[in-house]
């Protein structure tokens, strides 16, 4: 049921991203090569490399030709060369990419699971103090910037309690293999993933809670209770299962937010993903890497959103109103 109309927004968004990436460095005053590569990199260039680069980016050609050159390089997967890492940008990014995905994936899983369980319990006890407590607590958490939560977690669990490692994704030069390596990675992952999940708990919590509240009024819940089923069974098997669906569909909307959040969390925990690349890139004025990461991350977000949008419509046509790409949260019913 894939319709072209659904994907037009994404196509336009993609073009905007390409345009930002292409025009920003070329609109800067002065040497375009300096804007593309950063001043520092230029100092080390020999005249031959310089002319080769100008040729490669077609910088001596009119803008139209330049754009064509840019596009054809992109299609070949060529994102440029980083003089800071002394490596192709695509290689630098592909080293960092899995870590960000691991972090975001874990955080999304945690926040969806914890959020929906808390939401179901909260909705079940609507108006009781547990509900009030969870509701205010989670709304409160949403107000914290991700990096602040990350830093507090880092200090409490890393520095003060000293249970978790402070930085990185694995212990360097430890030579762990197999299970020990996996454990090491998990140990490094816990703090950043939980920090990221904690700030983003609100969405799935509210969705699960709202669906729970409405589901509890349904006739089949009444029937289940009349059958004498235990509370827990009604809560999870009958009502809970139905409140899971909107949570899952919400993941697509959350993805963009999570990836952006991960950029900050990675900076806090020196986690070797794309966020750290951005932070280092900003400090070293490593423009090729910045542009590459920008392109990869935005495209990833676009593709995920598009995929989820198409998927929702396929799974459940009823959901149409709440899957708007505006990311607007479903209203809360207190």
């Amino acid at each position: 049921m894939f319709r072209l109309k659904d994907s037009i927004n994404y196509l336009v968004a993609f073009l905007i991203i390409l345009a930002v990436n292409f025009f920003l460095p070329r609109l800067m005053p002065g040497d375009p090569l300096a804007a593309i590569y950063g001043e520092e990199a230029l100092i080390h260039l020999t005249p031959e490399t310089r002319s080769e680069l100008i040729n490669r980016f077609a910088l001596d050609q009119p803008l139209g030709e330049q754009f064509w050159g840019y596009l054809s390089a992109l299609v070949k997967g060529d994102l440029g060369y980083s003089y800071y890492y002394n490596d192709a940008v695509s290689a630098v990014i592909s080293r960092a990419f899995p870590w960000t995905m691991l972090l975001v994936g874990t955080a999304i899983t945690i926040s969806a699971l914890a959020g929906s369980i808390a939401g179901m319990e909260s909705g079940w006890r609507r108006g009781k103090w547990t509900d009030r407590f969870l509701l205010t607590g989670i709304m409160f958490l949403e107000g914290f910037p991700d990096f602040f939560i990350g830093m507090v977690m880092l200090i409490v669990f890393g520095v003060v309690l000293n249970i978790f490692p402070l930085a990185g994704a694995m212990t360097p030069y430890a030579g762990y293999t197999g299970l020990a390596m996996a454990l090491d990675i998990v140990k490094h992952l816990i703090l950043p993933a939980f920090s990221l999940a904690l700030v983003n708990l609100g969405g799935s919590f509210l969705l699960a809670r709202n669906t729970m509240v409405t589901t509890l009024g349904e006739a089949y819940i009444f029937t289940a209770r009349a059958k004498g089923l235990r509370d827990r069974v009604v809560r999870y098997r009958h009502a809970g299962r139905n409140s899971l669906f909107p949570v899952i569909t919400h993941i697509g909307i959350q993805f963009g937010r999570m990836v952006t959040g991960a950029l900050f969390i990675e900076t806090v925990f020196s986690y070797p993903g794309l966020g750290l690349l951005i932070q280092r890139g900003l400090q070293a004025r490593d423009y090729p890497v910045l542009q590459g990461v920008f392109l990869v991350v935005t495209i990833m977000v676009l593709v995920t959103n598009l995929f989820m949008e198409v998927l929702y419509k396929k799974i459940d046509p009823r959901l149409k109103p709440c899957i708007s790409t505006t990311g607007k949260k479903l209203r809360q019913t207190v």
Partner: protein
């Protein structure tokens, strides 16, 4: 049904907390020169001091008084918030109302653009643009507002479409009122609460994003900003200074964001009949 929004916020406990927090932040921002015991930039030999009677929150590694920096930081957050919210709301109004009133291909074009901008994570665009421009205050405000209008524009367009079919607006059109007159006389006054809600949401986002950007170090290095102070304390996480370097600043930032969230929430509660609690029943 007429709703007195100010009254609603005042009687709503969440709204009251939000207003109180906001007054606190605005007070700190306005009175920073009076309240701050030291020059926030002055570097003194008394570095890395723990809190004392002289330096209530201690000093940082170059001997700057943290309390003074905290107070001055409120200015940056607050000015960014108001400026961005104002500009973004104005853009939303211009785009949304124009799309709603003019219609046709113009409306399609504007809304397509808005929809497309909505699916791009704005923070990333700001980061990449900031990397090139190295924005000062003005550029930062421009950047953030340019990316902040689409969500508001959608809401305003939807409202405009409803409003323009109302009888009094149609009547005024039969008397020959042009779109600008209708906008000024009939649409904008009725949009008041919606615009306020959009404004508050914009302010909240701006505080968040300014903090994030200065945390990454892409804003003007000559300003005192909470995000920058947080990044600074991250570098000294191994020293035992976080209690007064990190927590007060982080809390100030979070409370500012929260004040906007709470006010916005209580406003939304007042506007949405489904969320309104029956008080006079």
């Amino acid at each position: 049904m007429h709703i007195n929004y100010w009254q609603e916020i005042k009687t709503n406990s969440l709204g009251r907390i939000g207003m109180a927090l906001l007054v606190l932040v605005v007070g700190a921002a306005l009175l920073a020169p009076v309240l701050a015991p030291f020059d926030p930039f002055a570097q003194t030999p008394d570095s890395l001091e723990p809190p004392s009677g002289l330096h209530l929150l201690g000093t940082n590694d170059v001997g700057q008084d943290i309390l003074s920096r905290l107070l001055y930081g409120a200015r940056i957050s607050f000015v960014t918030a108001v400026a961005v919210a104002f500009a973004a709301t104005a853009l939303s109004l211009a785009a949304g109302a124009a799309a709603g009133l003019i219609g046709g291909h113009f409306e399609k074009l504007v809304m397509r653009l808005a929809d497309a901008l909505l699916v791009i994570p704005p923070m990333l665009v700001v980061i990449i643009a900031a990397a090139y421009i190295q924005p000062g205050m003005v550029h930062l405000v421009l950047l953030l507002s340019l990316l902040g209008w689409p969500a508001g524009a959608r809401i305003i367009r939807a409202q405009t479409l409803v409003l323009k079919e109302k009888i009094h607006v149609r009547a005024s059109r039969t008397f020959g009122a042009g779109p600008l007159f209708i906008l000024k006389r009939h649409i904008i006054p009725d949009l008041g609460p919606v615009l306020t809600a959009i404004f508050i949401r914009g302010a909240r986002r701006a505080v968040f994003m300014e903090a994030g950007l200065s945390f990454l170090g892409v804003t003007d290095p000559m300003t005192v900003s909470w995000g920058k102070m947080l990044y600074h304390s991250l570098k000294y996480v191994y020293l035992d200074v976080w209690q007064w370097w990190l927590l007060p600043v982080g809390m100030a930032l979070s409370l500012t964001v929260m004040s906007f969230t709470l006010i916005g929430y209580s406003l939304e509660e007042a506007m949405d009949p489904r969320l309104r609690r029956e008080k006079h029943a």
